[in-house]
């Protein structure tokens, strides 16, 4: 079986879960990134049906659409940055073309190798990736797609194809697939990671969407759990006391000298405690509770708070409209409630 996820760090996280539970990844399981999977198992084996010039050795990563204006018929320029180097926004399209040109050999081969394919972070797939996914769903392979539409941060590619299903709208596509009997949708509300307070916080970001609820097996007996704020002046004390993972939107956010991860990089990872240095709009949201402030940032904010197993702290001065808890070093007790 194949476990496919989007980023390298997620693939490592999955592999380390295996090490944890099973002392290593079993030999019948391939843990791989989406692009690695497309390259190794979907493009190369039958690349010659479309492109025989050179082995597709690597990918040219692009953030915007590559080679606009070059017609698809010009295979080597349309798909390739240099001989054997395929554009990241075109590889999925290349796969669908290979599948057609080889009369189905690509999927036939995959069917011979895998009984199951699990796709993690499904919400990040976009453009032609979704067409490849459709091929998978139509095959005899059991495909399990796992995703949280709220965690949409990176699109795997900027292609214009399937633009209408970007981000949380991927739910529409999934519904369409369900109608076509390609898949069954199961909504998972329970989280095994986050507690009540974190669920409540993030549910507040997504009015109208299915809520997230803590699973029964959650152990909430630890000290210092929940969502709270920490004044700027207490950050060093807080860090020294709880050793949280510091998170920030991006490197422009100052983190008082603490080493930090960006929200996006933290995706797929989990920590006992996180300390979030909010951006201006997030600070404004904490103060006012007005969702309009975080309209653009709420995917990332959702990712950031849902990394925490036990506690989420925001660096925030003043009164929050909806986060009443505040940590102070002098209080003697670690946590007010």
């Amino acid at each position: 079986m194949a476990l496919v996820t989007y980023t390298n760090s997620n693939a490592r996280e999955i592999a380390s879960k295996f090490h944890h539970l099973n002392s290593g990844v079993p030999s019948h399981v391939d843990v791989t990134t989406w692009f690695g999977f497309l390259l190794r198992e979907c493009s190369r084996p039958y690349q010659r049906s479309k492109y025989a010039e050179k082995r597709i050795g690597s990918m040219a990563f692009v953030n915007s659409r590559s080679m606009k204006g070059v017609p698809e018929s010009d295979t080597s320029r349309y798909y390739f940055a240099s001989p054997g180097q395929i554009f990241s926004d075109k590889i999925a399209q290349f796969v669908t073309e290979c599948e057609a040109a080889s009369s189905g050999a690509v999927l036939a081969r995959l069917e011979g190798i895998y009984t199951d394919i699990f796709i993690d972070e499904f919400q990040d797939l976009a453009g032609w990736d979704l067409e490849v996914m459709r091929l998978f769903l139509e095959s005899s392979i059991r495909v399990t797609l796992v995703g949280d539409p709220r965690q949409f941060i990176y699109a795997t590619n900027p292609s214009a194809k399937n633009r209408q299903y970007r981000g949380t709208r991927i739910v529409d596509l999934v519904e369409k697939w369900e109608k076509a009997a390609l898949c069954a949708v199961e909504s998972m509300k329970e989280t095994h990671r986050c507690g009540k307070a974190v669920c409540a916080f993030t549910n507040g970001l997504w009015p109208g969407m299915d809520t997230m609820e803590p699973a029964q097996d959650q152990d909430e007996s630890h000290e210092h759990v929940g969502v709270l704020v920490v004044a700027k002046s207490h950050v060093m004390d807080y860090v020294a006391r709880f050793e949280p993972q510091v998170l920030r939107h991006d490197k422009r956010t100052k983190t008082a000298g603490c080493s930090a991860r960006n929200f996006g990089q933290a995706k797929g990872l989990e920590f006992d405690r996180v300390l979030i240095f909010p951006t201006g709009p997030i600070t404004e949201y904490l103060r006012s509770g007005d969702l309009k402030c975080v309209e653009k940032a709420k995917n990332r904010l959702h990712v950031a708070v849902t990394r925490a197993r036990r506690s989420v702290a925001f660096v925030f001065d003043g009164e929050s409209a909806f986060v009443p808890d505040r940590w102070e070093p002098a209080s003697g007790s670690d946590f007010h409630s």
């Binding site: 198992e41 190369r44 084996p45 039958y46 010659r48 082995r55 597709i56 081969r109 011979g112 190798i113």
Partner: protein
């Protein structure tokens, strides 16, 4: 897992070569220098990634490249023409097996034929980072015209385009080497490799761990401890650090470099060659339930006839459905394993097989191991005769005409008996061999014409059947008597018959003796015309 085809480009004497591989036994036959060993080497290389037991990446040798390719490249380059540098490609094609995911993983169309099947490809080519360096090297006339392998890299991939390693290839290949020359390269390295192959991953890990414990235990022995204390007291002027002796615990000291196999308490290396071969084979076969490919090089070397027989029986009975590729000179091996698995290598040409032989002819050779099929196949020209006396006469006749014995010209005189002529001619027909038949007419020329009508006068086939048209002269002896005077024959044979009939009766009764005398005599005698025809 079945290999169906091997494709080779630019390796040793193979410029562009295909070998259809038999589902069970492929027997590679060829004269010296036709590349039998090279072919096994190439197959071993693409299946294991190893050359002479070393990873090919670290063992690229200039002499692996086709000499003409190399010379052509240097010539062209020095004339200022753009040419592609020498490159080796070896591909092994396998049967599609949709039920084995590990095999399907190797599937794709990244191969020279563009087939959609599982397979492995070994490419040895110039590393594109060093293309300029290679050109500079080739352009400098003072450099030898030898491939500068420093600029080369080996890549081992599946037809899927993905890399493979010894671990990801889902089957094992065993090279049975009866000469065991590799043993001399390192202490039992080869043996330990063979033993190692026979163990499961868990067993190997266990062995490695036990060995590590043993090495550690050594330093805890009282005697060793005392020595280390002694050393510590001595101190050293060279260093202020404490000096002790330990068993080497580093990775370079592993069980397979020190442990050796024993047969009945005798070190493997000291056992007889026949026994060693059988053990290698047994280990290779017992090694794992994964399908195996066995490569066996010239099993007749270093083995007595009876050991060879036992080895062949073992191969036939124990290999199950494993694929076996054997290179051999021995007609015995060939006939034992089945003549239809033969792949004949010739200088330069594509290999030929005997699969198309008529079934009864195939049966005939299978039932007669040791029969000299290979002599026929390997000779530049063969002269088939009825029996030993004809053979001797033909030898002498040849020397009369050409001044030397037939074998010195690569001409083999083979005594086969008239009943088997057609069997041999079936092979000759298929392989386009140059064959002359010297036969008695047995008093019925029409019957003879009929018997050979399928073989004579076929386009592109050099088969000639030589016999005398005089039906009253049925066999060799009357032919000799008719061609020579009574006195000549009496003098050669040391007889004094006064009439031809009596002489003939004597000759027929003493066929071989007479023929031997005719061979060694210094006197000139006349060779019957039909024999003369076969020789010229």
């Amino acid at each position: 897992m079945r290999m169906t085809l091997v494709h080779i480009e630019g390796f040793k004497r193979f410029v562009d070569f295909d070998l259809d591989v038999d589902p069970r036994f492929s027997i590679i036959v060829g004269d010296n220098e036709t590349g039998k060993s090279s072919l096994l080497e190439a197959i071993g290389l693409v299946l294991t990634g190893l050359h002479n037991g070393r990873l090919i990446q670290y063992a690229i040798d200039p002499y692996l490249f086709n000499a003409e390719d190399v010379a052509g490249f240097f010539d062209a380059h020095r004339k200022g023409e753009e040419t592609a540098p020498p490159r080796i490609l070896i591909e092994a094609y396998f049967e599609i097996d949709p039920d084995d995911p590990d095999v399907v993983k190797l599937q794709g169309t990244n191969n020279a034929r563009g087939f959609n099947c599982p397979g492995l490809a070994m490419t040895i080519e110039v590393d594109s980072n060093y293309l300029d360096e290679l050109k500079d090297y080739a352009g400098d006339e003072s450099n030898p015209s030898v491939v500068p392998v420093e600029f080369y890299k080996a890549t081992w991939r599946a037809f899927s385009g993905d890399w493979v390693t010894g671990r990801t290839v889902p089957f094992k290949t065993a090279m049975i080497d009866t000469s065991l020359t590799r043993i001399h390269r390192g202490p039992s390295k080869y043996v330990s490799q063979v033993v190692g192959d026979a163990l499961s991953e868990d067993q190997r890990r266990e062995l490695s761990l036990e060995y590590k414990k043993l090495r550690h235990a050594f330093s805890q022995e009282p005697g060793v401890k005392a020595i280390n204390e002694h050393l510590a007291k001595q101190g050293s002027s060279a260093t202020s650090k404490r000096l002790t002796i330990q068993m080497d615990m580093s990775a370079k000291s592993t069980w397979d470099s020190t442990i050796t196999a024993h047969l009945d308490d005798l070190p493997f290396d000291c056992a007889g060659k026949g026994e060693q071969c059988r053990v290698q084979l047994r280990l290779a076969i017992a090694g794992s339930e994964q399908s195996h490919i066995l490569l066996i090089e010239e099993p007749e070397n270093h083995l007595s006839h009876s050991n060879l027989g036992r080895l062949m029986d073992q191969i036939k009975s124990d290999c199950g459905d494993r694929q076996v590729v054997v290179a051999t000179h021995s007609a015995f091996v060939l006939n034992k394993l089945g003549i239809d698995s033969l792949r004949l290598l010739s200088h330069g040409g594509p290999p030929t097989s005997l699969v198309e032989l008529p079934p009864e002819t195939r049966e005939y050779f299978m039932r007669l191991p040791g029969y000299d099929t290979l002599r026929l196949i390997l000779a530049r020209r063969s002269i088939l005769v009825e029996g030993p006396s004809d053979e001797l006469i033909v030898q002498r006749a040849y020397r009369n005409v050409h001044g030397k014995l037939p074998l010195e010209d690569g001409v083999d005189v083979i005594s086969v008996g008239s009943l088997a002529f057609n069997r041999f001619l079936d092979i000759a027909l298929l392989l386009h061999l140059d064959v002359r038949v010297v036969t008695d007419n047995d008093g019925d020329v029409d019957a003879l014409r009929d018997k050979y009508s399928d073989y004579v006068g076929v386009d592109g086939v050099a088969i000639r059947v030589c016999y005398d048209l005089d039906e009253s002269c049925q066999s060799l002896e009357p032919q000799l008597v008719r061609a020579n005077s009574l006195s000549t024959l009496n003098s050669i044979l040391g007889t004094s018959y006064s009439d031809e009939a009596a002489l003939l009766r004597f000759m027929v009764r003493n066929k071989t003796d007479c023929a031997l005398k005719m061979l060694v005599t210094k006197r000139h005698w006349v060779v019957p015309k039909y024999i003369q025809d076969a020789i010229e």
